[in-house]
C-alpha cells in the first residue's frame, strides 16, 4: 500500500509538470520591417537601349519606337561621358510637349504623395524614411525646385541605371 501511494504521487508530479501551461508567442503589435537592403536586388546595369526605353516610358507613358531607340542609342554611344550624353538626351525629352510630368503646384500640394509616386515610378521601390526626410526638407527649403528638376535628378541617378 505504501509503495502504491509512493508511485501514485510520482505519477501525479510527472503529470503536473508536463501538463503545466505553455507561454504564448509574444506579439508586440508593430509593423514588420524589411531588414535587408532596398537596393540589394538591383545588381545588373541597364544597357543603353534598356535605359532609354525605360526612361522614355517613364516620361511619356508610352513606348519608344524601335527606329528612335536605335537613333538615340547611337547618339549616346557617340559621346564618351555617358552622364553628359544622358543629360543632353533627357533635356531634349523635356523640351517635348508630350512629356508627362506632374505640375509644380500638384507636387507642392502633396509632397509626400509626389515623392512616394516618384520613387515607385523611377526606382520601383518604396521611399525610405531617411529619403523622405531629406526630400521634404530640401523641397520645402527650395520652393523654386520644379517637378521637372526632381524627375531629371531621378532619371540621371545611378540607381536608375541598375535593375
Amino acid at each position: 500500500m505504501h509503495i502504491f501511494r509512493k508511485y501514485c504521487i510520482k505519477i501525479l508530479v510527472v503529470l503536473f509538470v508536463f501538463s503545466s501551461c505553455q507561454q504564448d508567442d509574444l506579439i508586440y503589435d508593430i509593423n514588420q520591417l524589411q531588414s535587408s537592403s532596398y537596393n540589394a536586388n538591383k545588381n545588373k546595369q541597364k544597357s543603353i537601349g534598356q535605359y532609354i526605353s525605360i526612361v522614355y516610358a517613364n516620361l511619356f507613358q508610352t513606348a519608344l519606337s524601335s527606329n528612335e531607340l536605335v537613333e538615340i542609342t547611337r547618339c549616346i554611344e557617340s559621346i564618351g561621358d555617358k552622364q553628359v550624353a544622358h543629360e543632353i538626351v533627357l533635356s531634349n525629352f523635356m523640351n517635348s510637349d508630350d512629356v508627362l510630368i506632374p505640375s509644380d503646384s500638384l507636387m507642392r500640394a502633396d509632397l509626400d504623395l509626389f515623392l512616394e509616386e516618384t520613387y515607385k515610378r523611377f526606382f520601383v521601390r518604396d521611399i525610405t524614411e531617411a529619403e523622405r526626410e531629406f526630400f521634404l526638407n530640401y523641397l520645402n527649403a527650395n520652393p523654386n525646385v520644379s517637378s521637372e528638376m526632381v524627375y531629371m535628378s531621378f532619371a540621371l541617378s545611378n540607381e536608375y541605371q541598375f535593375y
Binding site: 532596398y38 547618339c75 564618351g80 531634349n92 529619403e131 531621378f154
Partner: protein, 443 residues
C-alpha cells in the same frame, strides 16, 4: 641688372619645374621628364593602308597591273603625283578626275621624321588601334571588350595629372568597337583616367539633329545646381548599397563646357562654319573638321583621331584611293589649322600619322566600277606600315628604314607619345608595355 633678372627668372623657372603637385591619384608628383611639346595629335589611318599606294607611291602600278605610278599623299610625302588614270580626286568631268590641291607648302616628310617601314603586328581594325594606343599586342582579349592594358590616355592622366577634357579620342563612327578605346579595364588605371570620346558625324549628324540638338539648356545655378544636389543625394544612398558606374572624371565645369560645345557645334553646323578641310566630302574629313573644333576649344594635351574610310578597299579600290587621298588632305588641314588657328598649340604640337595596319599583297576577286581589284588584310604585307612624326624637337627631313629594312613597331607609338609628353619613365615604369622603346630610341 641683367644678371639679377636672369637669376630671378631662373629661380622661378626651377621652382616651377621641380615643385611637386598633387595628382588625382593622390600621390605627390614631380614631372618625370621634359616635354618636347605640350600637345600631341595622333592620326590613325585606320582600316588598312598598303605601303604600295601610300609611302611607296606606286598608285596603280603595283596593285592593278596598270603602268601609272605616283604620289597621292602629297601633304605627307615628297613625290610627284600620277599623271595617268586619275580616279582619286573630286569630280570635274568624271568622278575623281581632279586631284585635291596640296594644302601644305612643305610636306610633313620634309618637316619631320618618317619611319618608312614599321611592323604593324596586328591586322584587325580594333586590334590595330588597340596596339597603337596601349603599346601592347592584343593577344589576350577579344573584340567588343575594352582594352585589358592601360591606354596612353590613362597613363597621361594618371602620371601627368591631366584633366579629362585634355585627352580626346575622336572617331569616324561607333563601329568596330571604337568607342571602347577611351579607357581600359586595368585595375590600376581604368575609367577614372579615361579620355573623352566623340564620334562627331553621329553626334552632329542626322541622329543628333533629331535627338540632341533641341536639348534644353538649364541655368547653372538656378536649375542644374539643385538638380545635381538631389542626384548626389540619390547616388550617395545608392553607393552605400549598390554598384558604382564607370566615370571618366569630367568635373562639373568640364561637363558644362562639353554641353556648351555640343550646343555651339549644332549652331556652327547649321551655319556652315565648322572648321572642315577645304574638301569635306566624306566622313573622315567631316570628322577632322569637328576634331579641329575640339582642339580649338579644349586645347587637348593628347588628341587621337581615328579615320576609317579607307576600309572600303575590300570591295572598292577606287574608293580606297579616294579615301587615302582625302585622309592626306585632312592631315594637311589639321597641321595647317593648328599652326594658323590655334595659337596655344601652334609650334607646340607634335603630329603623328600612323596606319593601324596594312593590306594584302595579292588582291581578292572583287572588282569595282573601274575594274580595279580589292584588297583584304590578312597576310604578311598587312603587317607593313609607316609612321611620320613632325613637331618641336623632331628631326626634319629624316628618313628611317626602308622597304627591306624594317625599323619600329606599332607598340613603339605609346612610349613615343609618352616621351614627347614627358612621362616615359612613368609609363615604362608601369611594367605594362610590350616594348619600352620609343621610335626615337630606334633612330
Amino acid at each position: 641688372m641683367k644678371r639679377r633678372s636672369f637669376i630671378k627668372k631662373a629661380s622661378l623657372a626651377s621652382a616651377a619645374i621641380t615643385a611637386p603637385f598633387i595628382l588625382p591619384s593622390g600621390r605627390l608628383f614631380a614631372a618625370s621628364g621634359m616635354r618636347m611639346s605640350d600637345h600631341v595629335v595622333l592620326v590613325a589611318f585606320a582600316g588598312g593602308v598598303r605601303q604600295q599606294e601610300s609611302i611607296l607611291q606606286r598608285y596603280l602600278d603595283d596593285s592593278q597591273s596598270y603602268p601609272s605610278a605616283g604620289n597621292i599623299l602629297y601633304n605627307l610625302f615628297n613625290g610627284a603625283p600620277p599623271t595617268d588614270k586619275i580616279v582619286y580626286g573630286t569630280k570635274n568631268i568624271i568622278d575623281g578626275d581632279t586631284p585635291i590641291p596640296q594644302i601644305l607648302s612643305q610636306t610633313l616628310e620634309n618637316q619631320g621624321t618618317t619611319f618608312r617601314e614599321v611592323n604593324a603586328s596586328a591586322v584587325g581594325h580594333y586590334a590595330g588601334v588597340n596596339a597603337m594606343i596601349t603599346g601592347n599586342y592584343m593577344y589576350t582579349q577579344g573584340l567588343r571588350n575594352k582594352p585589358t592594358m592601360p591606354t596612353i590616355f590613362e597613363y597621361l592622366r594618371r602620371h601627368q595629372g591631366e584633366k579629362a577634357t585634355k585627352t580626346w579620342f575622336i572617331g569616324n563612327g561607333i563601329g568596330n568597337s571604337i568607342p571602347l578605346l577611351d579607357y581600359s579595364t586595368h585595375s590600376g588605371y581604368g575609367a577614372s583616367y579615361g579620355a573623352n570620346f566623340l564620334a562627331p558625324i553621329i553626334t552632329f549628324g542626322s541622329d543628333g539633329e533629331k535627338h540632341l540638338k533641341n536639348a534644353k539648356i538649364y541655368h547653372p545655378e538656378d536649375e542644374l545646381d539643385p538638380m545635381y544636389k538631389m542626384k548626389y543625394f540619390l547616388d550617395n544612398v545608392w553607393y552605400s548599397q549598390g554598384k558604382q558606374l564607370p566615370n571618366i572624371g569630367n568635373t562639373e565645369e568640364e561637363k558644362a563646357e562639353i554641353k556648351s560645345f555640343v550646343k555651339d557645334m549644332f549652331e556652327k553646323t547649321e551655319a556652315g562654319t565648322i572648321a572642315h578641310p577645304p574638301i569635306a566630302d566624306n566622313g573622315d574629313l567631316r570628322t577632322i573638321g569637328y576634331a579641329c573644333e575640339v582642339m580649338k576649344r579644349f586645347k587637348p594635351t593628347l588628341t587621337v583621331i581615328y579615320l576609317s574610310n579607307v576600309d572600303g578597299c575590300h570591295s572598292n579600290f577606287t574608293g580606297y584611293l579616294e579615301s587615302l587621298h582625302r585622309a592626306d588632305h585632312g592631315v594637311g588641314h589639321i597641321w595647317d589649322y593648328i599652326q594658323n588657328n590655334i595659337p596655344q598649340m601652334a609650334n607646340n604640337t607634335t603630329l603623328m600619322v600612323v596606319p593601324e595596319h596594312g593590306r594584302n599583297l595579292d588582291s581578292n576577286n572583287i572588282e569595282d566600277g573601274n575594274a580595279f581589284s580589292g584588297y583584304d588584310h590578312s597576310d604578311g604585307n598587312s603587317r607593313r606600315i609607316f609612321s611620320t612624326i613632325v613637331g618641336p624637337g623632331i628631326d626634319s627631313n629624316l628618313s628611317i628604314g626602308g622597304e627591306n629594312n624594317q625599323i619600329g613597331d606599332i607598340v613603339n607609338i605609346t612610349p613615343t607619345i609618352a616621351e614627347i609628353l614627358g612621362c616615359k619613365n612613368d609609363v615604362v615604369g608601369s611594367g605594362l608595355l610590350a616594348s619600352n622603346k620609343s621610335l626615337f630610341d630606334l633612330i
